[in-house]
Subunit: 159 residues, 3 copies
């Protein structure tokens, strides 16, 4: 079996590292809206559509004030928006990076730097740490994806 | 031709199912902003940038009130944001799921559950159904993608 | 080495064109939040989380007014949201389009139409050109991705 055919298979350790990191980040991306839903149900507020203040089994005692922004819910929405700005780009950049056949060590460093920085960013944001901590962690995660993209560009242009 | 080389080709029925479902969801993702534009043009309101109330062929009689949020337009924007929270994750999770070589039946069940749940979610949201219906359909679509990611993770870790 | 195995390799000129266009659009997607950060730091306003008006090395003289929307910062956020609505869809649609093995000329036309239209859209948006110019450029970019998706659909259904 030839080298190229194996790039996106479990025989390629760079792909395996990517598939693992990507799956973890997909879980994060998919579970953040569940946190928003959990928070909305807990405080019964922070809804966004007019029909959400109609009486229903989930909302037995509706109130127009439920449509006003609620910081507890909005924090989870901002986390979700932040994920949307970062994780889809990581997922595609990482796949192209795998196809550019980087050294395994570089792949491990960039992929896990991203995952760890995003996990720490989540903790810092949920616990409302001062902006500088969040900004530093966001910068680290952004730089690791940028390095993947630049590596891919150099390999594509340098063929 | 070997098995691995075929994973992302039209010879692999799992990939064909994914490519079809992914293309349909891409159309949904790409056409939702057209619905927002259509609604903005129809009511000539719900604009978002200050320069959108300058006189132009599209907007011959501008009015500062056109920058205020308009529920008819905002509903389409919320639909778009909801797509952004869901569809890119589905697209990448589905591709990794194909690479994890699942049984064809499982692939069909998960892919089409997602597509049908999202289509029904769209109808429920556009027609402003009570929150519980929308929430149920969203939950079904989210769970089908989560199962794909967990399947991929188990296959990657269990190699 | 067979044809299929090469679809996602640097031996395939369609993939090379895609990898180049996708990397450039990933850079755009990743750098837009840096523009938002730059603008927030420059005007020391337009922050979004309550903890951002705590005293810190980055924000030595905090003021609650820093949490109010600031048009200079909001414009960069709208650009980012516009990127999120467009670029991830392009990245995935483009990859599926490569796998559908289009003619090289068609690939070049669609990929570079998208990249050039998005670059021009960015310039039009940053400089607050009248809505019609921005809308035209957005339409061109959206249509080029739609053609990629329709091409992929036809190839998948027509196998």
């Amino acid at each position: 079996m030839d080298e190229v055919a194996l790039t996106l298979s479990r025989e390629n350790p760079v792909f395996v590292a990517y598939a693992l990191a990507a799956s973890l980040m997909l879980l994060k991306l998919l579970l953040q809206p569940w946190m928003t839903v959990f928070r909305m149900m807990k405080v019964r507020a922070g809804f966004r559509s007019p029909e959400d203040v109609k009486r229903s089994p989930i909302n037995p005692t509706p109130d127009p004030a439920q449509l006003e922004p609620n910081e507890y819910v909005e924090r989870s929405r901002r986390l979700n928006l932040n994920d949307l700005e970062s994780i889809p780009a990581f997922l595609v950049a990482g796949l192209l990076f795998v196809l550019a056949e980087p050294p395994l060590l570089l792949a491990h460093i960039l992929l896990w730097t991203y995952v760890i920085a995003r996990a720490a960013h989540f903790v810092a944001y949920v616990t409302a740490q001062v902006h500088d901590i969040r900004a530093t962690l966001w910068t680290v995660s952004s730089l690791s994806v940028l390095v993947m993209v630049v590596y891919t560009l150099v390999r594509v242009l340098g063929r």
